[in-house]
Symmetry: C2
Subunit: 711 residues, 2 copies
Amino acid sequence: MVANTYLEGSYSEIYPDIARDADGMRKLFRQFSFPGGIPSHAAPETPGSIHEGGELGYALVHAYGAAFDDPDLIVACVVGDGEAETGPLAASWHSNKFLNPAHDGAVLPILHLNGYKIANPTVLGRMRDEEIRDLFRGFGHEPLFVEGDDPRLMHQTMADALDVALASIRSIQQHARDGRKTIERPRWPMIVLRSPKGWTGPKEVDGKKVEGFWRAHQVPVSGCRDNPAHLKVLEDWMRSYEPDKLFDDNGALIPELQALAPDGQRRMGANPHANGGLLKKELKLPDFRSFAVEVPQPGSVIAEATRELGKFLRDVIRLNAKERNFRIMGPDETASNRLDAVFEATERVWMEPTEPYDVHLAQDGRVMEVLSEHLCQGWLEGYLLTGRHGFFSCYEAFIHIVDSMFNQHAKWLKVTRELPWRRPIASLNYLLTSHVWRQDHNGFSHQDPGFVDLVANKKADIVRIYFPPDANTLLWIADHCLRTYNRINVIVAGKQPAPQWLSMQDAATHCDAGIGIWSWAGTEDANAEPDVVMACAGDVPTLETLAAVDLLRKALPDLKIRVVNVVDLMTLQPREQHPHGLSDRDFDGLFTADKPVIFAYHGYPYLIHRLTYNRTNHAGMHVRGFIEEGTTTTPFDMVVLNKLDRYHLAIEAIERVPGLATKAAQVKQQFRDKLIEHSRYVREHGEDMPEVQGWVWPNSAGGNTPAEAGD
Amino acid sequence: MVANTYLEGSYSEIYPDIARDADGMRKLFRQFSFPGGIPSHAAPETPGSIHEGGELGYALVHAYGAAFDDPDLIVACVVGDGEAETGPLAASWHSNKFLNPAHDGAVLPILHLNGYKIANPTVLGRMRDEEIRDLFRGFGHEPLFVEGDDPRLMHQTMADALDVALASIRSIQQHARDGRKTIERPRWPMIVLRSPKGWTGPKEVDGKKVEGFWRAHQVPVSGCRDNPAHLKVLEDWMRSYEPDKLFDDNGALIPELQALAPDGQRRMGANPHANGGLLKKELKLPDFRSFAVEVPQPGSVIAEATRELGKFLRDVIRLNAKERNFRIMGPDETASNRLDAVFEATERVWMEPTEPYDVHLAQDGRVMEVLSEHLCQGWLEGYLLTGRHGFFSCYEAFIHIVDSMFNQHAKWLKVTRELPWRRPIASLNYLLTSHVWRQDHNGFSHQDPGFVDLVANKKADIVRIYFPPDANTLLWIADHCLRTYNRINVIVAGKQPAPQWLSMQDAATHCDAGIGIWSWAGTEDANAEPDVVMACAGDVPTLETLAAVDLLRKALPDLKIRVVNVVDLMTLQPREQHPHGLSDRDFDGLFTADKPVIFAYHGYPYLIHRLTYNRTNHAGMHVRGFIEEGTTTTPFDMVVLNKLDRYHLAIEAIERVPGLATKAAQVKQQFRDKLIEHSRYVREHGEDMPEVQGWVWPNSAGGNTPAEAGD
């Protein structure tokens, strides 16, 4: 990529220092895989690239993401035979079942069988042509074979194959675009290219085979500084290309060869599809306030947060239907995650045959479902990287499947932000739901809230983590995320019916601050510090915290409680580490300098410690969260097993407030008895005790008036 | 699985409470997907299972892991068409290129196309038979189709297909085992089973199609308590199986049907291969001390840690060659990770054609290389779960690809440890190398030390994380890990030439404690607390810490420095949280109660904070580690960019020791100047300054005698 874009001139336009002369070429060579220079594989710094080399597996799925909704684009995707061994790549071949020739572009896979990886032959490289043909016909392609080692013949054969492939693509597209109904899914062309690894490089070094073998990987001849024989091999190799005939006296490519490259944006290094921000159009968003759940009093209404979000997303789809630049991805879970309102506006894309009883399938659907988190993530990355927008909803536990893809995308964003010529692309937005705390029918395999721990390792300017506690806060956050660029936003929210806490106006104030005191829930005096801070992040921890506060308010009316709710987890970090981080003064204002803080958190408790270890009151922070307990059980039993329930939280508050444990010994014992009662009840009845199931926030009694106290 | 093992009797043997009578059956039904009961999919609690359902994708790769080196075993592996859409499963089909019919068992894949997932048709389910045939012939199989919906006909067709498949397997095996050389890789049989989803369940509910559609997923008819029509559907459905004819008056299966199940261990719930600990034989280990690197003085010898480990692993292979119960996995990286001594004892397994110039390939090799971390991990899991041993070496950054597989295996181990009938299996041992700190040619895409953060989220009795600082410690740790059961051991160690610190005897003392004071490196008095503690975990941080100590010793001879090296990261956790955790007293003894601790750590610094936030001196701990900086650059520049280098560490020590910053202002400035000099030098020369490259620990000068101070 680097050499090609240098020769076609686009490289020097972006990096004028690497000019098209001898000095520029020297710099070009020297910076390659050199400290302070550029990596040895495609990278953000490489013009015309949309993803980094190195970790393999994502070429084809990104190619499809790039082709969706771009009818004039043909994405030629070179898949190495090493990369072809990876799981994500193996699954990607089925992407052609989701590509609509009428309004999507085309992907032309070029499977490059050079036969070797770092130190091994490749699995596909050693398969016979018949097996390769069967395999890719089975994947829905018509393979065109280009095989040999004579460059002159090979170039012509390749050109012929490309002509055939492009004609075939054009024919498939015309057929679909003429409005003739496609009965059968088309058989798309692909090219299988067999050429030697290290082609035209040294045949042998020290009597050992190099060209056409894995020894040609990366450094075919080494130690040229000290080994004159190796230097000779290198020189002969370089001279074999007759550079004197290719470059003029100043080191510039001769005009006849320069003229071979296409012009302007048709050069591979200047293709705007590989700098998606150039093509990006603003996403049109409906007013999220119009989807507000009416919440006259905190806790007075029950709603399913993701179901409300579904209505908002439905209108996002409608508003951008003409632009065709927004898609929703989900591994067979859009309906299960209760976003099904989107099916009022669109369908699931499906190019395979349909049956009369099928529902919500269409060739031009905008929801993409396949039972592969890798494909969902990869399609979306490709779609975003080429200038579009999207949303990915996933079961919380299984998002770990794409940890490494998330990592690489975050790295990509980090580096592209430092390159002024790379224009911002839309953020990658995750909704993680069907989360750890609701496992009535699944169980331990579906319980892992640790993805955000990985996310929090990334650079502050790239990542955001949100825990909206109810529907209105979820709507505010989702709207906000869809407006951002060059970020990865992770929203964690439940799908089950749950009490709603904030009106849309309160939600807006709260989310805008990212964290705040819920004074309507607490019992503190305006002019004195509370005895204890009950903090929470996440919908279930918020519910349990409020229930604990309710217990404490009733049993110990003199106890001064402050309730702090965290929506934006990054507010907890020091301001120096994250732009959303609270200053120490603001943090201390919320969490006090020395009062006990009982923090109920959605995920692994360590994350809260790790974010707050430098704060004044860190020694006073007692975090409860998921500690890997519980399997198939009731909602309340899940929190009890992990000690995140109202009784454990209330007991801990009593124990942590100085002097209270003795005074309130009887109350504590009552709460302990409740835990025993619960345990017995749930084993007998298979459901939670009525007093837990039926608990509601006491709208009238005790607390301050319902209004956001801010931060 | 639960129903089948109950009917065959094995379930009641393991769980006598679930007897083969009406009462037992009632308990069986009631516990299913019920609080305190069992999950709705296969789980550790399920007899005959070797992995959990839920997260899909690993059935086939585990099946191959089970079949390797077990010549009499045929693993029938049912792959659902939902699971078939995942990346790991898609890659797994190529596993047949690594299975040797002469000494491995066989895998019989049964691709079950019931056509639907939760809410969608499946990709493979809607493919025509011709495409399916092409696809699986391309994968090297001969598909046998079993299709229909009449149970009577289908049972017979399935039995016939099984007969054909088993005969074909036997013929392939006999051919290979008769010593006739296999020229062509055999074409293994597989079965493609098309049957309706929810087969023999309700055809319709409320006028909507259920049998043969996705509505049959999990709960085909709901709300039977309140909806009499639905209750009737349920009752009719259940009665359609004529239970009165199948069970006697006590609720026991009638003897004629009981007699259909095979006997003893041939029942699926009593198969010892699905309780691998029953079959496990001790791994024979050479004396790791015999591979010791001679280290007369700390830092006096240079060695490559992983290369030394390779020799030890070579002999592990030799000692267990007859038992054939040890394999090494690696994604094309065994040689790159410098474990190539293993090729003196074995080769890479390779069943595809070979060329005369190929090296280290053999049909009976014991090293498994494929460019898929998913396959390496999955094969190894399957191999361990069926009672064998293994070792997985991987580039550190790319191990994130299998985060989710690691998670699920850790969950499996956690639950199996609580089941007395499940016998312990060998630990899953990772060597993570080619790590973040050495990226001369790769770069940012290859830099991520965060896998251990994920590991540390798991239950303490399952996971161990080791950072051996040199070759002898690596040998000790590797030997230790290979002796453990039911754990996941993660070893992080570099492959580059590096100074060696400990003799084997000192290494043994140090590793046995897991953490210790290196008094030979420090300058503290025996009877007084040091001014500063320089702590380190990881080979590169240890090197930089010692170099910083050397700088400080020379510049500030009066400064009392303690050096603490951490091999076993879990020693940092409180004893209550991890069995290896130090008591607070021991921890304070090492890190002091209030002196500044400059902690140089291999990974993301937060992990150290999270492990130590409860310790007395946490406020005094200043951790340096990877902060996502640096790309393709020199070894020393990498540490400088992340502020983990000797100069930054020495400067921080000066700044943190009370009163020293002013006194040592000049020294500090010298170190700062060195950083500027380095920066200039590396950009100009593309390599590190001679004084950095050539730095050696001063064997003679200053410090105490080289001996482990231990704890």
